[in-house]
């Protein structure tokens, strides 16, 4: 008999304030598990955003800095440049990262800051009550797109992973989802890979996680998972866009660690 699943030490015992079924909780757990499994929890520093995860300083069981809205990559840069041997990651929502924080994430990638970014794309502004995000799907109703997102007024949703993957410094970029157990398990492997990129000193790594916001989507949690599968994944294809492993292979294996 063996315990095959239990609470991770990567998170504190605090109960989260997240709504029932919100996948922020799942991603928190995956990050916590990965930190523990990589043995780096004790030297990890989290940078948390403004958004529903803004209270995550109570959850991640490591040092935490709460950053201004959108500025987590800049804050993480500050930490990284002071403490080159720690594990630094930023956790950001899509309003935070893809809207107000666009410059900061682009330039963290551009500099290839040796940090890991977990990017929660739930196609909406959760904390402030369901306004449109740059990632909101066409036709999706939000409190600021009451008739559904109109691409003629607001443009078509932005694919952050694809955009960042164009930046030379973006060493690792992959999109995952939280809508089903296999996808969650895959997400964990990818998050691990993103931290390994940092540990190998290979530079900027970002994992975009397609997530739910049952509350502001106005869906039951289970239906929200289905919405990710049926609507988000088709527009935001899962998969790896940049990986030092692949890149090294493409270049003939010059990267030292492979």
């Amino acid at each position: 008999m063996a315990v095959v699943f239990q609470r991770t030490a990567g998170l504190t015992d605090a109960e989260t304030h997240y709504c029932p079924g919100c996948t922020h909780g799942i991603v928190h757990r995956l990050v916590g598990e990965v930190l523990v499994e990589l043995g780096v929890l004790d030297r990890a520093i989290a940078v948390i955003p403004v958004g529903c995860a803004t209270l995550a300083y109570d959850y991640f069981n490591c040092d935490v800095q709460q950053a201004a809205h959108g500025r987590a990559p800049a804050v993480a840069t500050g930490i990284r440049r002071v403490l080159p041997d720690r594990v630094v990651f930023a956790y950001q929502g899509d309003g935070d990262l893809a809207s107000i924080g666009t410059a900061e994430i682009v330039h963290a990638a551009h500099r290839s800051e040796n940090i890991t970014v977990i990017f929660i794309n739930n196609a909406i502004y959760g904390m402030t009550g369901g306004q449109m995000a740059p990632t909101t799907l066409v036709g999706q109703k939000t409190t600021t797109s009451p008739l559904g997102r109109d691409p003629r007024l607001a443009g078509e949703p932005i694919r952050i992973a694809e955009m960042l993957a164009q930046i030379p410094g973006a060493s690792f970029v992959e999109r995952v989802a939280c809508d089903s157990p296999p996808h969650v398990k895959a997400a964990k492997r990818v998050i691990r890979r993103a931290f390994e990129t940092q540990l190998a000193g290979e530079g900027f790594a970002l994992v975009e996680v397609l997530s739910t916001c049952p509350t502001n989507w106005g869906l039951e949690p289970v239906d929200a998972l289905a919405w990710v599968r049926d609507h988000m994944i088709p527009y935001y294809p899962l998969g790896n866009l940049r990986d030092p492993k692949k890149d090294a292979a493409a270049r003939g294996g010059v990267r030292p660690e492979e």
Partner: protein, 371 residues
């Protein structure tokens, strides 16, 4: 280290490095860029990190991260860039992060101009960011003093866990004067930064958290009261002021920064005529040296505030003065510099015409006599 000729901007950088600053984040802007450039050359030589950020917004938030991680960190900019930092500065104050911010002020509003000004006084002393908070604000008037205050700023930032601002106008950034840069490592009396997120747990389970969010108003109020207790301590202990020839003065000028130097030239000229004029030069803008104004000899019926602005520090003079003396104002703005001749004329005019209680003499941006 011997006295060397340095630009004010460079001296800021040299003094910061001598004070143990090893991290600089900043963005170019005239008339401050020499600081950035100095750091790009010299920080790497001492194993430090210079990083040109993508913007002033990023710079101030990098400072936040670095300060939170326990480093001595600095950023600098000039007026529009500092305006962009206001949210970040408010965060630094809210999260109580020691850091040094240099504003080499130029004329505004908007893109304005690039010549010297003192029109960011309100922004520096009252917060252009959101909420109740204060910075410790130093306003040097020579390159040597700037270097010394930068060093002091790092210690005070650490001591109070508060952002400290150095306010110099464009003239002070660009001028070259002999300066002696003294190695000045962190004051050993400073407590260790146990609050920093260094990613090293003191004991298992102990975590450091840097944060300015307090959703419960009673908790936030408590936090702010703690901040203000700190600011009160600054008011008690940190006031720096130069009182120059005030003992036997007929009139006292209040001026800071390079403006105060120009005033001194005017005072010398007036002294030659037998007109006794004193100067109160606030070196800390916050805390403002209100006491120096309050305890002036009774014979001083007139105060003349001289600023390179439309009148900002005058608010603090009026608040301290409480109607006791007549407060006059002479201001040049937008990059114009008030000349000693004009200051002297204004003083002569006031002494000839005004007594306590009269309508104050306001002379702003006269067409002639500025540079």
């Amino acid at each position: 280290m011997a006295r060397v000729l340095m630009k004010g901007n460079e001296a800021v950088g040299a003094a910061a490095i001598a004070a143990g600053c090893r991290h600089y984040f900043g963005y170019p802007i005239t008339p401050q860029s020499e600081l950035l450039e100095y750091m790009s050359v010299h920080l790497p030589k001492v194993g430090g990190v210079f990083l040109q950020s993508e913007s002033e917004v990023a710079a101030i938030n990098m400072c936040y991260g670095a300060a939170g991680a326990g480093a001595r960190v600095m950023t600098g900019s000039s007026s529009p860039g500092i305006a962009l930092m206001q949210e970040g500065i408010s965060y630094l104050a809210g999260a109580e992060l020691p850091s040094v911010i240099v504003n080499i002020v130029r004329g505004g509003p908007g893109l304005g101009g690039i010549q010297p000004a003192q029109s960011d006084y309100h922004q520096s002393t009252r917060g252009g960011g959101d909420g109740d908070y204060k910075l410790l604000v130093y306003a040097p008037s020579t390159v040597q003093e700037m270097a010394e205050l930068v060093a002091l700023a790092f210690d005070k930032a650490d001591e109070y866990r508060n952002p400290v601002m150095i306010v110099g106008d464009g003239m002070l950034g660009q001028i070259m004067e002999p300066v002696e840069i003294v190695e000045r490592p962190p004051d050993p009396a400073l407590p260790p930064k146990t609050w920093a997120t260094t990613g090293t747990r003191d004991h298992p389970g102990s975590r450091s958290i840097i944060n300015s969010l307090f959703l419960k108003p009673e908790v936030l109020e408590h936090h702010i009261l703690d901040l203000f207790a700190k600011y009160e301590r600054m008011r008690e202990r940190e006031v720096l002021v130069e009182e120059y020839r005030v003992e036997d003065a007929d009139l006292v000028v209040v001026a800071y920064g390079t403006t105060a130097r120009i005033v001194k030239s005017a005072i010398a000229a007036l002294a030659a005529e037998g007109v006794r004029v004193g100067l109160i030069r606030p070196i800390t803008l916050f805390p403002f040296p209100a006491e120096s104004l309050r305890r002036l000899p009774d014979r001083v019926a007139n105060l003349l505030v001289v600023e390179m602005s439309m009148g900002q520090m005058i608010d603090d003079v009026r608040i301290a003065n409480e109607g006791r003396r007549t407060v006059h104002f002479l201001g040049r703005t937008g990059g114009m510099i008030p000349l000693p001749q004009v200051i002297a004329d204004t003083v002569r005019h006031i002494l000839a015409e005004h007594h306590a209680g009269d309508v104050p003499h306001v002379s702003v941006g006269d067409e002639k006599g500025g540079r």
